[in-house]
């Protein structure tokens, strides 16, 4: 899973497979981080309140 695992090999299979995995995780992580940060900012600015 990580390059420091002893069975890790720097070959195409690992790069493609783990690259895809970390890419997906990064998108999800950044996406959620964006949502949370924006929500915190909006809340601080007094937006929202459940009445739409």
């Amino acid at each position: 899973m990580f390059p420091f695992n002893f069975e890790w090999i720097w070959d195409m299979s690992h790069l493609v497979f783990m690259g895809g995995l970390w890419f997906a995780l990064t998108i999800l992580g950044l996406g959620m981080a964006y949502c949370i940060i924006k929500a915190v900012i909006d809340t601080a600015q007094g937006k929202g309140g459940g009445h739409h």
Binding site: F17, G31, I36, A39, T43, G46, G49
Partner: protein
């Protein structure tokens, strides 16, 4: 009692009645939990699996719920990436079903492995050449996506939504949802396929083995395709059942029609591909290994040619034919028949790819080992069903799962009733005001 938690403009039964009705389901859940604990504490000797059936009911259940849960990724794909806006009225439900299916699959896997505490080895010591590794990674990631997709729905609960932070978070999550849905679709295309690859790469098992493209056997593509075809059928089937149980119409017919039509086309093309695949396997792949087609379907008490007919004709050709016709889609009985047959078809497909694969004797001097699940296996397989019913029930009661519910079921007694109902129209314009959270 709990009225304040209900979504706006909808009616729900009293809480005691609701809880009473869930009683039998909770009993089923407890039975399943007991069996699960027995498997964890006493080990897999509690099952009827053996060295001939290393994979059995659980792996079948896993493959099946993931295929059936495919409705979530495919509906999301259609809604967010292809732009089928109409599907926003069923996407919440599809996501909910997907969430249940995938969490169930993970739970079953956690019971199924011999050393559950070492489950993380599949990530830590990953063998990137194994289809199962790919399944584990994508399945876990996609479960994360489904959680992200389900979360806004939970936050849209009337009381939670009053909290400004949650309201804002929901808003922004909807904004980014196409990105999450795209990631989910990407992950799903791979893990659905890899589940097919799990069987397809077994070159020691002539019943399952298939040639393919690069590292992917044909079953890889067939599984993704079938999940996209049959997953929406399961979503439609459960939505219809939910309508029956609640005694309400929850989704407009045009939404069903669109999803059923797409599922029909996917199913029709899939079943053609499946027939070609079966034909090639029966005439080229298996004979190259010295085995005749009928060897896989004879000399045993269960697996006859009937199972192939059930899977391909009854569970594939017939439902596809029904779903491809407007009349079929618009006749409630025909639609229900089609989606039920479709669900049976995909269940049978997953069954044969797991169980029959192992049942077919490969050493010429061995016979067909037969298997039936122990009660612990049955109970743990039903556990997700019970859990699913409970989660659907609670979600339906407290969350705005069905954006069209209020419009289709106006509360007449209230003085300030919503605008005039339009129960049977295919009109779209009313949607925006009905579903603020979805907008």
């Amino acid at each position: 009692m709990d009225d304040a938690l209900f979504p706006k403009g909808v009616k729900r039964c009293p809480l005691p009645e609701f809880l009473m009705k869930l009683g039998p389901v909770v009993a089923l859940l407890i039975w399943g939990v007991v069996a699960m604990l027995m498997c964890w504490i006493k080990g897999l000797n509690q099952t009827n699996m053996n060295d001939a059936y290393g994979f059995a009911a659980w792996i079948w259940a896993d493959l099946t719920v993931i295929a059936l849960g495919g409705g979530a990724f495919f509906t999301g794909f259609l809604r967010y990436l292809i732009g089928k806006e109409k599907l926003k009225n069923i996407i919440n439900f599809a996501v909910l079903i997907g969430f249940i299916c995938y969490s169930s699959a993970l739970l079953i896997l956690a019971i199924d492995i011999g050393q559950p505490l070492r489950g993380w080895f599949i990530f830590w010591h990953a063998n990137v050449h194994s289809m199962l590794t790919e399944v584990a990674f994508c399945l876990t990631c996609y479960f994360g996506v489904l959680t992200i997709e389900y979360l806004p729905l939970v936050l849209e609960n009337r009381q939670i939504d009053r909290v400004p932070f949650f309201h804002n978070l929901t808003h922004h999550m909807h904004e980014v949802m196409p990105l999450f849905a795209a990631t989910g679709a990407f992950l799903s295309f791979f893990h659905q396929g890899s589940l097919g690859g799990v069987a397809g790469v077994l070159f020691g098992r002539p019943f399952a083995f298939r040639e393919g493209l690069f590292i992917w056997p044909w079953t890889f593509f067939l599984f993704t395709w079938s999940a996209a075809a049959y997953g929406p059928c399961f979503t439609i089937m459960l939505a219809k059942i939910t309508e029956k149980v609640t005694g309400k119409r929850l989704i407009k017919d045009d939404v069903y029609d669109l999803l059923a039509k797409i599922a029909g086309w996917m199913m029709a093309t899939y079943i053609v591909a499946k027939i070609i695949d079966t034909w090639y396997w029966a005439t080229v792949t298996a004979p190259a290994r010295g085995m005749t087609f009928m060897q896989f379907y004879s000399n045993n008490p269960l697996y006859g040619i009937w199972i192939l007919i059930l899977e391909i004709v009854i569970g594939g050709v017939i439902p596809a034919a029904i779903l491809l016709t407007r009349k079929g889609r618009n006749t409630p009985f025909a639609l229900m028949t089609a989606v039920v047959l479709g669900v049976i078809g995909v269940c049978v497909n997953r069954w044969v790819m797991v169980l029959q694969t192992l049942a077919v004797p490969v050493l010429p001097f061995e016979g067909w080992p037969m298997y039936y699940p122990s009660w612990q296996e049955v109970a743990t397989t039903l556990l997700p069903v019970a859990y699913g019913i409970i989660l659907v029930a609670f979600s339906y009661r407290y969350l705005p799962v069905f954006p069209q519910e209020a419009e289709l079921n106006p509360i007449v007694s209230e003085p300030a009733a919503p605008p005039a109902p339009a129960p049977d129209t295919d009109a779209e314009p009313a949607d925006a005001e009905l579903s603020p959270a979805q907008a």
